[in-house]
């Protein structure tokens, strides 16, 4: 019989500890994309026909066992045409064997892993879109080393990291990268996720002479660190914080004090497609997207959409197209995978004039120039 719709399913953390992250980077973009597509009449097929998207969504409740079961349900029970990936590195890995077994392409966005080159060999239809720890660490090392060479700052760094997969991946990549770049790490500690009080750490690092403070942190700690650094009047010349720095609420809460703070991700402020995307995201979902994963999530969906337009609903063909094709997305007119990984990324960004702009890699078109040193906190 005639097909009247395309079934797209996803399982994502709507509740539990992961809901905060998924709720900013993943869910709004899935919803925005589905709305955009359906408002335009549906997903376009190679024959030009448009089929509306029918969504099947589950809440994985931030549990590995649930996410595995939910994806199996999408594949085996609901027999959806495509599955969108869950949020977080761990969950993307948990479901990767299932995507592979059922032959679904997996466009893993919210997952930072240095093992991506191995994974693409193990799971041929998996795509890794947020880079690995060493990418971010090396870029950061270069930013610091350049500034140090320029005499803007000294070469000492204090560094903390959250004790979970993300924080450890980054910090283990950062250590050799910093050493290579001739940066001296004078403080290097890991704190457990859920830490709310950073005053002991700040008290330590305030007096150790490092001009740079790096925290590979998660949103609640990123926010707490920003607040507590202001209270402590701690003013490192480079302040680099982890996930959450690019969240709209960060700018809102810190106003002018966000200026100069660095983190992972960023945008090219002159990229019109991206600016339009940000505007539409805010209009449709009621909130601005974050400056790191959001736009990539949306871009991954555009790639999928385009691949379907070129190849139809044949998942093998779509995967093949994703691997080899070039796509026009909100990221750039020529977005494409290299060995199933997205490499055109902003490794380091900085708040400049109310926008979190990409500053590294600095040779990438659209890169902004880092402003250093960071201004001291303004008292409010």
């Amino acid at each position: 019989q005639e097909r009247t719709s395309v079934k797209i399913g996803y399982a994502v953390s709507k509740t539990g500890p992961n809901a905060g992250g998924a709720g900013i980077t993943t869910i709004p973009n899935y919803e925005l994309w589905v709305k955009d597509v359906n408002d335009a009449g549906g997903l376009e097929m190679p024959d030009g026909k448009k089929l509306p998207i029918e969504v099947v969504e589950y809440d994985d409740r931030s549990s590995s066992e649930e996410v595995v079961r939910a994806v199996e349900r999408l594949a085996a029970q609901d027999e959806v045409d495509f599955i969108l990936p869950p949020w977080s590195t761990g969950f993307n890995l948990a479901v990767a064997p299932l995507f592979d077994r059922y032959g679904y392409p997996q466009l893993a966005v919210s997952s930072v892993t240095d093992k991506a080159p191995d994974f693409v060999k193990r799971w041929k239809k998996s795509f890794w879109m947020l880079g690995g720890g060493h990418d971010y660490a090396e870029a950061l090392a270069k930013v610091i080393a350049d500034a140090s060479k320029a005499g803007t700052i000294n070469n000492k760094v204090s560094m903390i990291s959250v004790a979970d997969g993300f924080g450890i991946d980054l910090v283990t990549a950062a250590r050799p990268a910093f050493e290579e770049a001739g940066i001296e790490v004078v403080y290097d500690k890991t704190y457990p996720a859920g830490t709310t009080d950073f005053s002991p750490i700040l008290n330590e690092v305030m007096s150790n002479g490092a001009d740079t403070f790096v925290a590979f942190s998660y949103p609640p700690e990123t926010f707490a660190l920003t607040q507590q650094a202001q209270v402590a009047d701690f003013n490192p010349k480079i302040l680099y914080l982890g996930v959450g720095t690019g969240f709209p609420i960060f700018a809102k809460n810190n106003g002018a004090n966000a200026e100069g703070i660095m983190s992972l991700g960023g945008v090219d402020p002159r990229n019109e497609a991206n600016n339009a995307y940000r505007k539409r995201h805010e209009e449709v979902t009621g909130k601005a997207p974050d400056y790191w994963g959001s736009v990539i999530t949306y871009a991954s969906l555009q790639m999928l959409q385009e691949a379907i337009k070129r190849k139809g609903l044949d998942r093998d063909a779509v995967s093949e197209e994703l691997s080899t094709g070039t796509f026009k997305t909100v990221l750039s007119d020529e977005t494409k995978f290299e060995d199933n990984q997205l490499r055109q990324l902003w490794w380091t960004g900085q708040w400049q004039n109310g926008v979190f702009v990409g500053i590294a890699p600095e040779d990438r078109p659209g890169a902004s120039k880092a402003t250093l040193p960071r201004q001291a906190w303004k008292k409010n």
């Binding site: 809901a19 905060g20 903390i160």
Partner: protein, 290 residues
């Protein structure tokens, strides 16, 4: 350095103590093991957020709205949900089981409502995030407020419970609910008020925390568990116990972070908690296990 660490520890512990005192009343006196306690805290945090960002009322002033709201919520919940359970309970253990199960359900309802209203996002705002200098150390005013509030509330509750007849009656309900009617205490009413006061305290804790901590609709359970740890470490139903346990945990965490390794702070928290129980199986101020 030592003074700084001690002060930071006390300030951090103030938050723990503040959050735990309401629970110790609810569990110690009303005998309701309230697993939805953290959700009550989070609800108050959202309420404070709304009245601050939405109506421009500052959260400290907002306490005048949030505390009565918490009290009223506790009062209603006890009347509607807990009273029938208490009435049918055959003994302490069965009430414990029933209240665990029922408040587990309540936890999900509150969480669900928060999720639907506010979404799953990280929520945070800055208020009173200014430095106050104390003994040469900068302390955040909002955190200091938590400590001050904890000490005031703790002191007031202590006096209420030990120096007034009504407070003694509340403790009597706590230790032998079956005997309380024999001296003319309306157990139901006493428990209801204890539960409601606990609700008010949860609200106060939630408001203060919202000024400096990021929260989400689903982060309540963290507070419930932290509060439970403090309550148990202090001795069930003992306000002074909750206050001291909270402060001790705060100081231990800070000292470990300063002098040992920030990575071990939570391990130290749990370690010290376990050690206290091994040394005193009914908590610091507890009198025999209940």
């Amino acid at each position: 350095m030592l003074v700084t660490a001690l002060l930071s520890g006390l300030v951090l512990g103030g938050t723990y103590a503040l959050v735990a005192m309401g629970l110790t009343l609810q569990y110690g006196i009303a005998r309701i093991m309230n697993l939805a306690y953290g959700e009550m805290i989070i609800s108050a945090a959202f309420l404070a957020y709304v009245i601050y960002t939405g109506y421009g009322i500052n959260p400290v002033l907002g306490l005048l709205i949030t505390i009565p709201a918490g009290f009223a919520f506790g009062y209603v919940i006890y009347g509607v949900m807990m009273k029938p359970l208490v009435a049918r309970a055959r003994d302490k253990a069965s009430l414990e089981i029933d209240s665990i199960l029922a408040t587990f359900g309540l936890l999900f309802v509150i969480q669900g409502v928060l999720l639907v209203t506010f979404g799953a996002n990280f929520t945070s705002y800055n208020y009173l995030n200014v430095a106050v200098e104390l003994f040469g150390t900068n302390v955040a005013a909002n955190r200091l407020l938590a400590l001050v509030l904890a000490l005031t509330v703790g002191g007031a509750l202590y006096l209420l419970l030990t120096r007034t007849l009504w407070g003694t009656a509340l403790r009597a309900v706590a230790v032998s609910p079956a005997s309380a009617p024999l001296v003319g205490i309306d157990v139901n009413k006493a428990a209801r008020y204890a539960f409601a006061i606990g609700g008010g305290l949860a609200a106060a804790g939630g408001v203060v925390i919202s000024m400096y901590q990021t929260f989400t609709a689903t982060s309540g359970v963290v507070f419930t568990m932290k509060a439970l740890i403090v309550v148990i470490m202090g001795g069930v139903g003992n306000v002074v116990g909750a206050l001291s346990a909270g402060l001790i945990l705060g100081v231990v965490e800070t000292f470990v972070a300063t002098y040992v390794d920030p990575g071990l702070t939570l391990a130290a928290t749990y370690g010290i908690f376990l050690a206290v129980l091994l040394w005193r199986p009914s908590g610091l101020f507890g009198r025999r296990a209940g």
